[in-house]
């Protein structure tokens, strides 16, 4: 006996009720539960759909779907970290590495001036303003998406969340630099240039490159994304 469309909908609602927020995991668990419910009903046709459903759910243990949800989140964060690494690596390959090195050298030259600390803090501030602006536009995009559709995808969430979190992460450091950098001397301009270059690459990858390619990675991760 095959479950009806109505019963499948009931199962989706059931997973949502048990804290499975994302559509891909809901779909997988719904199919699993449906298979099990069908088998249970075949064995004992006297059971109602709800009784069979609760029996199938019990097999997930006392914590229900929690363990599966948590591990799924872990796996997706890992996937995002891999994406980040994959695109960042490109900046250390030919020919992009030339751009990376020149960027670093330009910053080094600028930061070696007498007013270096001022320039450094200003440059950092500008970067943070750019990130804040990005965060603002990303948040608007997320809200718009949430309004128009009900299916949520974890990887998509992680991508947009990380793209908009950069500003929040880097901005407080401005004050830190303002007090500690008292004119850049010795090896300091070089360290600052290096750090600044890395931050720029990270910012570029997380706010521009990954969101731009999000669709490709989402389709690869979630074949049901386009369905």
């Amino acid at each position: 006996m095959t479950l009806s469309e109505e019963q499948i909908k009931n199962l989706y609602a059931f997973t949502r009720k048990h804290f499975v927020e994302y559509y891909d995991l809901q779909t997988e668990l719904v199919d699993h539960m449906a298979n099990d419910i069908e088998a249970i009903l075949e064995d004992d046709p006297s059971l109602s759909f709800e009784q069979a459903r609760d029996k199938a759910f019990k097999k997930f243990g006392v914590f229900g779907f929690m363990e599966v949800v948590e591990q799924r989140a872990k796996a997706m964060n890992k996937k995002y970290a891999k994406l980040l690494w994959h695109y960042t690596k490109d900046w250390f390959r030919l020919p992009q590495i030339m751009a990376t090195i020149s960027m670093c050298l330009i910053f080094y030259t600028i930061f070696s001036f007498e007013v270096s600390s001022l320039i450094f803090v200003t440059a950092f501030l500008l970067l943070c303003i750019f990130l804040m602006y990005k965060a603002f536009s990303m948040n608007r995009k997320i809200k718009k998406k949430q309004k128009t559709k009900e299916k949520l995808w974890l990887l998509e969430d992680i991508i947009y969340r990380n793209a908009s979190a950069g500003g929040l992460f880097f901005a407080p450091q401005v004050f830190h630099f303002m007090y500690t950098v008292d004119g850049l001397e010795g090896y300091k301009p070089f360290i600052c240039a290096l750090v600044f270059t890395l931050i720029i690459i990270y910012t570029y990858v997380s706010t521009v490159v990954i969101p731009k390619n999000a669709e490709i990675h989402l389709l690869e991760t979630y074949p049901e994304y386009s369905l």
Binding site: T2, L3, S4, E5, I8, D24, T27, E28, L29, V30, D31, H32, A34, N35, D36, K59, F60, G61, F63, E67, V68, Q71, R72, K74, A75, M76, K78, K79, K82, T221, Y222, P223, E224, L227
Partner: protein, 111 residues
């Protein structure tokens, strides 16, 4: 399940091995297959199966595919090239471990 502690470490190997023998499988199918092959002796729990599948997927060992079956979507897993290679080494590892255990439990039989 009394032996659940014993199979925990080899769950990923069991999954990889099953997938190497079948083109593609879905979660429920894997639990049933293991149950049938071991005549009910070994039962993979849902709470352990999916985390393992998702971990293998994020490591690039498994690929996913979705198809509409009856009136619902079904997610299939299959081995990637990297996964196929990993299966061979994981199986070797497990077999070696079994031999070691054998040597510990039945010293006379294994030599």
């Amino acid at each position: 399940m009394a032996n659940s502690k014993l199979y925990k470490g080899s769950l990923t190997t069991i999954i990889l091995k099953l997938l190497s023998e079948h083109n593609k499988m879905y979660g429920y199918e894997i639990t049933q297959k293991v149950k049938a092959l071991t005549k009910g002796e070994l039962q993979i729990t849902e709470g352990a199966l999916y985390p393992s599948l998702h971990k293998l997927e994020s490591e690039g060992l498994l690929d996913v595919e979705v198809a509409k079956v009856d009136n619902r979507l079904r997610k299939y897993y299959k081995l990637t090239e990297k996964g196929t290679k990993e299966t061979v080494s994981k199986l070797e590892e497990l077999e070696q471990y079994l031999a070691t255990l054998q040597a510990l439990l039945n010293p006379k039989l294994s030599y």
